[in-house]
C-alpha cells in the first residue's frame, strides 16, 4: 500500500473556523502511529477527526497544525454474534455498524443525534442519547480498545470478553477525553438483543410540578423503560404570544415482547399519565429521532447540564427563569433517570453567556458544559467550566501519555 500523504488543509477541514495547515487520512493503525510519532516530534497541534459532527466542540483553537482523520480506518467490523460482542474500526459510523448488527437481531444501543457520527468520536466524547436510560453511556458498553499513543505506539486495553479485570481500564479512561490522551483505532463493545417491540407514551403538561410528580412516580415504580425523557419547549415571549400552553412533555418508551409492552403501558397508565398518547411504529421512531436531534435542529448555543434526578421540578423552574432572561428562547431535552439534559439557547452571545453563568451559579445544576457556541461565546465563558479537584491527576496522566502536548492542545477538557 502506498503510504498516505499529507495534504494541505482546506476550508472544509476547518476546526471551529480555523483551517488546519495539514490533513492526513491514515489507512491503517501503523500509518496512524507513524503520523502521530512525527507530529509529536515536531510538536504539531493535532486534532483528531472522525465524522466531524462534533469537531467544533471544545475551546476555540488558536492554530491547528494537523488534522488526523479516521475516515479510512473504516473497513473492519467483527461481529461475534454468539458472544454478543463486536469490534469496530474507529472510522465506521454508528448507523453503519447497527445496520450490520441487525442481521442477527442485535445492536449497539447508543443513539447519536448525528448520522455521520463515528464510533471513534462517540467513544471520545462519550456522547449519549435517550437510550442511556437502560444501557448507560458508550463507556458502559465498551469492553476493549486499540489505541495509537502520541508517540506512535499501538497499544490495547481490555479485550473482547464481556467480563475482564486484567490491567488498567484505559478504554473507559479515554471515554470522554475528546482526543486528548490517545487516538482510538478500534473499539470492542458488548452488544444487546434488539427488543421485539416498543411503544412510547407522550404526556404534555403546563405545570412543572405536575410533570415532576408524575416523573417521580414512574421513577419509583417497577416499570423498566427503555428511555425516559423530558422536553421543555421555548416559549413565545411576545406580548401576544401564548406562554405556557403544553410547554413541557414526558416521553416514556417501553420495550420488550409485544404483550409485555402492552402490560407495562397499562401499569404506567394506572400509576400516572392516564391521558397520555401512545405512539408505535413509524410515528414512534420519528418522535425519538426528533428528540435526539432537537437541540441541534436550530440555531443557538447548546449547553449540557446535569442535576440530581429528583430535582426535575426545580430544573424546569430554572429554565423558566432563563427564558425570562433570553426572551423565551431557551429549550431543553433531558433524560429523567440520569438527570442530564441539553439546553438550546438562542439570542446574542452576551445573553447566552449570562444564561451559562446563571446555570453555573445554581446550587443543584452541575457539569455545565458548552457544546456548541460561537467563538465569542467561548471567549466569554469557558466551555468546560471550573476544573475539578481531580484535574491535577488528569493533567499528570496527560503529560505522561502526550509529553509533547499535541493532542487537542488547549481545546479539550485537559
Amino acid at each position: 500500500m502506498v503510504p498516505t500523504e499529507m495534504r494541505a488543509g482546506s476550508a472544509s477541514d476547518a476546526v471551529d473556523g480555523v483551517v488546519p495547515r495539514q490533513v492526513i487520512e491514515p489507512a491503517s493503525a501503523s500509518e496512524l502511529g507513524i503520523a502521530l510519532a512525527s507530529a509529536s516530534r515536531d510538536r504539531l497541534a493535532t486534532i483528531i477527526r472522525g465524522g466531524g459532527t462534533k469537531i467544533d466542540w471544545g475551546r476555540p483553537p488558536v492554530t491547528v497544525d494537523l488534522v488526523i482523520s479516521t475516515a479510512r480506518l473504516d473497513n473492519t467490523i467483527v461481529h461475534r454474534h454468539g458472544d454478543l460482542t463486536a469490534t469496530v474500526h474507529a472510522g465506521i459510523t454508528l448507523s453503519r455498524l447497527n445496520q450490520e448488527l441487525t442481521r442477527y437481531g442485535q445492536w449497539l444501543p447508543i443513539d447519536s443525534a448525528f448520522d455521520e457520527a463515528t464510533i471513534g468520536g462517540i467513544v471520545a466524547s462519550n456522547d449519549a442519547g435517550p437510550l442511556r436510560h437502560r444501557y448507560g453511556t458508550p463507556r458502559d458498553l465498551l469492553i476493549g480498545v486499540n489505541l495509537a499513543m502520541a508517540d506512535g505506539r499501538l497499544v490495547k486495553a481490555g479485550g473482547h470478553v464481556v467480563k475482564n479485570v486484567a490491567g488498567y481500564d484505559l478504554g473507559r479512561l479515554i471515554s470522554g477525553s475528546f482526543g486528548t490522551l490517545a487516538v482510538i483505532v478500534d473499539a470492542t463493545f458488548k452488544l444487546l438483543p434488539i427488543p421485539q417491540a416498543s411503544a412510547t407514551l407522550v404526556a404534555s403538561y403546563t405545570d412543572a410540578e405536575r410533570l415532576a410528580h408524575d416523573a417521580a412516580l414512574i421513577a419509583a415504580s417497577q416499570v423498566e423503560p427503555l428511555a425516559f425523557d423530558v422536553r421543555v419547549s421555548a416559549v413565545d415571549a411576545r406580548p401576544t404570544g401564548s406562554t405556557t400552553h403544553d410547554s413541557c412533555q414526558l416521553l416514556l418508551r417501553l420495550a420488550s415482547s409485544p404483550s409485555a409492552v402492552d402490560a407495562q403501558i397499562e401499569s404506567v397508565r394506572r400509576l400516572a399519565l392516564p391521558d397520555s398518547q401512545v405512539m408505535a411504529g413509524e410515528a414512534e421512531s420519528s418522535v425519538w429521532k426528533e428528540q435526539a436531534r432537537l437541540p441541534w435542529a436550530d440555531v443557538g448555543a447548546v449547553v449540557r447540564v446535569a442535576w440530581p434526578p429528583a430535582k426535575l421540578a426545580e430544573v424546569i423552574t430554572l429554565i423558566r427563569e432563563l427564558q425570562q432572561m433570553a426572551g423565551g428562547r431557551v429549550s431543553m431535552v433531558g433524560r429523567v433517570g440520569a438527570g442530564a439534559g441539553l439546553l438550546r439557547i438562542e439570542g446574542d452571545d452576551l445573553t447566552q453567556s449570562a444564561v451559562v453563568r446563571r446555570l453555573r451559579s445554581s446550587v443543584f445544576v452541575g457539569n455545565v458544559t458548552v457544546l456548541r457556541g460561537s467563538r465569542d461565546l467561548k471567549r466569554l465563558v469557558d466551555v468546560w467550566g471550573e476544573p475539578t479537584a481531580s484535574m491535577k491527576v488528569l493533567q499528570s496522566l496527560k503529560r505522561s501519555l502526550d509529553p509533547a502536548g499535541i493532542l487537542n492542545a488547549g481545546r479539550g477538557p485537559i
Binding site: 479485570v165 488498567y168 496522566l397
Partner: protein
Amino acid sequence: MDERLVDEFRRICGLDAVLHEPLQLMTYECDALPHLREKPALVVLPGSAADVQKVVRVCAREGVPFVARGHGTGLSGGALPVPGGVVISLSRLNRVLDIDIPNKRVTVEPGVTNLEITRRVAPFGYYYAPDPSSQQVCSIGGNVAENSGGAHCLKYGFTVHHVLAVEAVLPDGEIVEIGSPLADAPGPDLLALIIGSEGTLAVVTKAVVRIMRRPESVQTLLAAFDSIREAGAAVSDIIGAGIVPAAVEMMDRLAIRAAEAAVHPNFPPADTILIVELDGPSAEVRELFATVEDTCTRAGATTIEIAQDDEQRARIWKGRKAAFAAMGRVSPNYYVQDGVVPRTRLPEVLARIRQLDERSGLRIGNVFHAGDGNLHPLICYDERIPGQSALAEEVAREILTYCIEAGGSITGEHGVGADKRDYMPRMFSQDDLDVMQQMRDAIDPRRLCNPGKVLPTPRLCGEVPGPYREHPVEKAGLAERF
C-alpha cells in the same frame, strides 16, 4: 520500623489502632489467597478519611510503601502486605453516610460491606446490584479496588457501572473527589481508571453508589443435565433467543457434591446443573421464563425445578454462592482459578479442563458464570502430599493458558493482584504494559501505593523480553529481582 514513626502513627490513629506485635500482624499477612503471605511492619486502623490522609502523608514523606485493605476477602493477593510497609486497614471506616432514595444513591465509607447497602435500602424497595459471592463480608472499598462483579453482572454490570463518585487519598496524600454524583462530568473517566486499579492508584475513603429498584418479578429455575455440553447448548439457545437473564450459573458434579455437603441446598445429583434467573416486569418475566424452561427441556434437562418463593430461591443461591468454601468438604486444599473465555468457546475449554483433570490426577470442580464465560475451576489438592501444591499451581496455570488461547482473559473478577501479575505479558504486549506502568507512575511516581500488584515486576534496563534469563547485573550480584 523506626519507633519514631510508630509513635507518629499512634498519634494519628490512636494507641489501639496501630498494630505491630507479630501475633497481631498475622491476621494481615494474607487476604483470601492464603498461599501468598508477607509480614507488614505495621498495621494501622484509621478511624476517618482525615486520618487515612495523615497516614498516607507520613508514608509519602518517609518513602514507606502502603497497602490498603478492606475485609481481606480478595482472591488475588491484592491486599498482600509489602515487607517493611504499612497496611492501612479500612475496617473502621464503616459508616453509611447518606441514603438518598429519591435520587437512588447511597454514600458509604469503604469498610461498609456490600450486603449492608442492600440491607439499608431494602425497606424502601431498593438494592445494590453488584453481588460478589462474598457479599456478606466483602467491603465496598475492596469492590471498588477490584471492580467486583457477581452472579448478576451479566445483566447489571460491574462495580464500575454502579459507582458514581469516590473520595480518595492519592499517593502523595492529597484527598480528592473523583467522578461526580451528577451525570456527564466533562473529561476523561478517571473514576473508571481508579475502579479496578486494585489499590495501586489511590486509597478510596468514600463512595457514592447507585441503588436500583427491586424488579417487579424474579423467577429462578434449576435444571439438571447429563453433560456440560447439553447445559452449554441450553445457555446458547437462551441467549440466541434474545433473552438477557439476570444470571446464568453452572456447576458440575464435584461442585454440586461439595455444596450439598456444606449447605444442603438439595441440588439434584446431576452431572451439571444450570441456574437461570430472570427478573423485570412481571409480564415480561412470565413470558420469557416459559421460553427458558422450554429451551432447557429441549436441550435435554433431566429435571427442572422452579423456585416457588423467595425462600427456595435463597436456598438455590446459597448452594451456588457457598460453592468455593464448600470445596473444603471434599478436599483438604483447593485453588480457586478465575479466567474468562468468549461464551461460545465454553464447551471446548471445559472439555480441555476435564482432560486436564484426568491427566493431572487432581480433581477439578467447575463453578462458573456461564452467561459471560467467566470460569471458576476449583482445583483440589492435598498439601501434605509432596508435590501436590506445585502441581495444583501448574494446573491452574494451564487453565489460564486455555483461556488466553480461546481469546479470553486471565481474570474476570478476582483481579490480577500479586497472584497473576506475571501472566500479564501473556495477554498484553510490552508496549501495552509500559503504557499502564507510565499511567501508574504519573499518579504514584514513587511507587509506594500497593507496589508489586497488577503489573509484572519491571524489567531491568537492557533486559530482553522472553523467558527468564539471568541479567548480567544479577549475575554479577549487583542487583536482584524482587
